[in-house]
Symmetry: C2
C-alpha cells in the first residue's frame, strides 16, 4: 500500500549498539525527491499480559522506570530475547513477575509503541485460568505485584501511577469486556 509515500534509504550510519537498543541515522529520499535524515531506534520487541485474579482484579507490577524517573504500575511485560516466540516470552514474564501461570492464552493485539522513531512492537496476550507457578524474579529487575479493582485502576490513572500505553490499553479492554458482559445479561 501507499508506495507513493515511501521513503528510500540512501545511507545508514550506526550511532550506538547497546544491550537493548541500537540507534542509527538514515539518509532518506522523500517522496518529492528531496533528502532528509531519520533518527531510528531498533528494539527487540516486547510482550505484555492482561491477567485477572479469581476475584476479578487486574494484575499489575510496580517497577521503577529510569527513563521516567518514577515508579509506575504496568501490566506484566518484558522484552523478547533474540529469536524468542512472543507467546513463550509472555508465559515466562508472567511467571517471573507475578508468580502465576495460565491455563489458556490468546493474543489480543500487537502494536508499535512509537512509530515515529522506534520499531518496538508489543504483543498483547490475555492469560486465563491462572494458578500459582514458581516465582523467580529476574536478576536486575525489581518489581512488586499489585492487584487492582477497576476503581483503583481509575484512581491510579488520575494520579499518574498508571501511565503507559499498554496498561491504559488493558484498562480500556477491561471496560469494553465489562460493558459487553452487562449488555449480554440484559
Amino acid at each position: 500500500m501507499s508506495d507513493y509515500l515511501k521513503e528510500t534509504t540512501l545511507g545508514t550510519k550506526s550511532i550506538f549498539k547497546g544491550r537493548i537498543i541500537d540507534v542509527e541515522i538514515q539518509d532518506v529520499r522523500l517522496p518529492d525527491g528531496k533528502e532528509s535524515k531519520r533518527e531510528i531506534v531498533h528494539h527487540p520487541g516486547a510482550v505484555a499480559v492482561i491477567a485477572f485474579t479469581s476475584d476479578g482484579k487486574l494484575i499489575l507490577v510496580k517497577q521503577y522506570r529510569k527513563a521516567l524517573e518514577k515508579a509506575i504500575a504496568e501490566i506484566p511485560a518484558g522484552k523478547l530475547e533474540k529469536g524468542e516466540d512472543p507467546l513463550e516470552c509472555a508465559k515466562r514474564e508472567l511467571e517471573e513477575e507475578t508468580g502465576v501461570v495460565a491455563g489458556s492464552w490468546s493474543k489480543l493485539h500487537s502494536f508499535y509503541t512509537s512509530p515515529g522513531f522506534a520499531n518496538e512492537i508489543v504483543y498483547i496476550y490475555l492469560a486465563e485460568g491462572l494458578s500459582h507457578g514458581i516465582e523467580s524474579t529476574d536478576e536486575d529487575e525489581f518489581v512488586e505485584r499489585i492487584d487492582v479493582t477497576m476503581e483503583e485502576a481509575e484512581e491510579m490513572i488520575a494520579s499518574g501511577e498508571i501511565h503507559d500505553a499498554k496498561t491504559i490499553y488493558a484498562i480500556q479492554y477491561w471496560k469494553l469486556e465489562n460493558l459487553k458482559a452487562s449488555e449480554e445479561q440484559k
Copy 2:
C-alpha cells in the same frame, strides 16, 4: 511512592544528540545495592487527536514510517516543539495533517509509549465540532488523510495497516463510546 524500588543515577554518558531524540547511558545503583546500566532515549513528547467526521467516521492519516519500513494509518499526531503547549500542538497538527479545525477540545489521557527505554509521552485529545481550516502540510511530511468506518478500521487492524498504540487506543475509545451510547438508548 515505592521509594524502595528507586534506581539512583551514578553517572551519565551522552551518546547522541539528534534533531528529535537524545540517547544516553546511565550507570545506576539498583535497590539491592548492585550496579547496572540503563539505555535511555529522550524525546520531546507528542500529541494525538481523535476526531470524527459528521457522518461518524474516524479521521486517520496514512504516512510512511521509516522505523517500520512501511506506511501505516494513524490518528493525526505530531511532536511537541520546545516549550509548546500540548493543546496548541494538537490544534496545529490536526489542521496541518487533515485540513480541519475543531470547535471544542478535551484531553482524554496521556501515556508513556515505551517506559522501558524512552520518556516519550503522548497527550491524547478529542476534537469535536469540526470545520474546514487552511490545509498546510509540513515540509518534510507526506501524509494522506483517510476517513474510516469502524468496520474498515477493524479490517485495517487485521491487515496491519493500523498498527500503532495510539490508534488502537483511539479505536478502543470509539468502541467504548458506541457501547455506552447504545446502553443509554435502552
